[in-house]
């Protein structure tokens, strides 16, 4: 009898623990957002609007996201020019429509609210360089990483990039862009 009472007590504690932890349905999910830009830096400047709310995986968990566990990028750079180039990338929260075909492209990087994610990434003349998720998760730490997370959590943001300007077509291209977001989400 005493055994059963103790056993039932421990079972009750376990169930109560599950409920109070608010984690009956929770997990860690990886969201991959493809950014279909063709970064052709003839002018040394590029902009692309991103709307995560169209992403199916993001949509599934958007209301239940607790935190972003990790944040990274993946992209391929081809520098066919005769000079070494440096790539810089900023993100900034935005609002409204994210169709690059209907929006008027900005001509400069916003002066506030930006997070400088890729800093002076060197690509040698004639070189191709792939930036992997593993490499990019180390780009930001501390307050800068937290600011980047806030921008991503907003769901709608703009991407700005700069590189050396070119004179010919496609001398510096960034393609196969992806933003990879690992989120913790829970619901009761």
């Amino acid at each position: 009898m005493r055994y059963l009472t103790l056993k039932n007590g421990l079972l009750a504690i376990a169930v109560a623990g599950l409920i109070t932890a608010g984690c009956l349905v929770s997990g860690t999910f990886v969201v991959v957002e493809s950014v279909n830009f063709e970064f052709t830096a003839n002018t040394g400047f590029y902009w692309y609007p991103v709307d995560l709310t169209d992403n199916e995986e993001w949509e599934d968990h958007e209301e239940d996201i607790d935190d972003i566990d990790a944040l990274g990028l993946e992209f391929l750079i081809e520098n066919t020019s005769s000079q070494t180039c440096e790539l810089n990338v900023w993100f900034v929260a935005a609002t409204g429509d994210a169709d690059p075909n209907t929006l008027t492209p900005p001509t400069q990087i916003p002066t506030s609210g930006t997070v400088h994610v890729v800093k002076n990434l060197v690509v040698a003349a004639g070189a191709t360089r792939k930036v992997s998720y593993q490499e990019s998760v180390g780009f930001l730490t501390g307050a800068q990483l937290e600011a980047f997370k806030k921008i991503i959590l907003s769901g709608r943001f703009d991407y700005f990039g700069t590189s050396c300007g070119g004179t010919g077509d496609d001398e510096f291209r960034v393609t196969q862009g992806k933003i990879i977001i690992t989120v913790s989400a829970s619901s009761t």
Binding site: L6, L18, G27, T28, V32, G72, Y133, Q134
Partner: protein, 188 residues
């Protein structure tokens, strides 16, 4: 919190050793190893776990087990075409389990129920993720008393490690070997 738990665990161990000279005392130490399966974690695959525990039999059915467990989850697979390329996280737990059944030194099959709490640290060197919090675990197992001095033990358990937001969960299946001592062991 971790320090407090270590002090409690060491204190219990020392108390147990001191008490081992008392009549009827049942004590034990053991090691275990097995499989850890992350639950709803896109960024982890199954991995291994191992650990050590002390055992203190109180009465005929209750056993107190201070323990330390080291878990290493596996590398995540490809997510939506992206090879994340990072290592799985490490989960380190220092805790105290209460076991109903599986009394040290009792012979034959000994089904049991267990539940416990502890400090759980989840760390990933690649992403910089690092969080510690108080969590809990519960499960069922079967002990087999080979002799008064040795018990075999197979246990299935769920581990819930709450984070600042959300939680990390895993199923564990471990097998272990326990060595029993204390004046109560020979009396069985």
């Amino acid at each position: 919190m971790r320090r407090v738990l270590i002090i409690v665990a060491v204190g219990l161990l020392m108390t147990a050793v001191t008490a081992s000279a008392q009549p009827g005392v049942k004590l034990g130490v053991g090691g275990f190893a097995g499989l850890s399966i992350p639950v709803i974690q896109d960024d982890q695959e199954s991995g291994s776990e191992f650990g050590f525990k002390a055992r203190w039999g109180l009465g005929k059915i209750l056993v107190v087990e201070p323990n330390v467990t080291f878990t290493k989850w596996g590398k995540p697979g490809t997510v939506e075409g992206v090879d994340l390329g990072i290592d799985g996280s490490k989960l380190t737990g220092i805790g105290l389990d209460l076991v109903l059944g599986n009394s040290p030194g009792a012979l034959g099959l000994k089904p049991y129920f267990m539940a416990g709490f502890g400090s759980y640290k989840v760390k990933n060197d690649d992403t910089g993720y690092d969080e510690s919090n108080l969590g809990w675990n519960a499960g069922l197992g079967i002990g087999f008393g080979v002799s008064p001095k040795f018990d075999l033990d197979i246990r299935g358990k769920v581990v819930v490690a709450p984070q600042d937001q959300g939680s990390k969960k895993a199923f564990g299946i471990v097998a272990g070997l326990n060595f029993n001592f204390g004046s109560g062991i020979g009396a069985i």
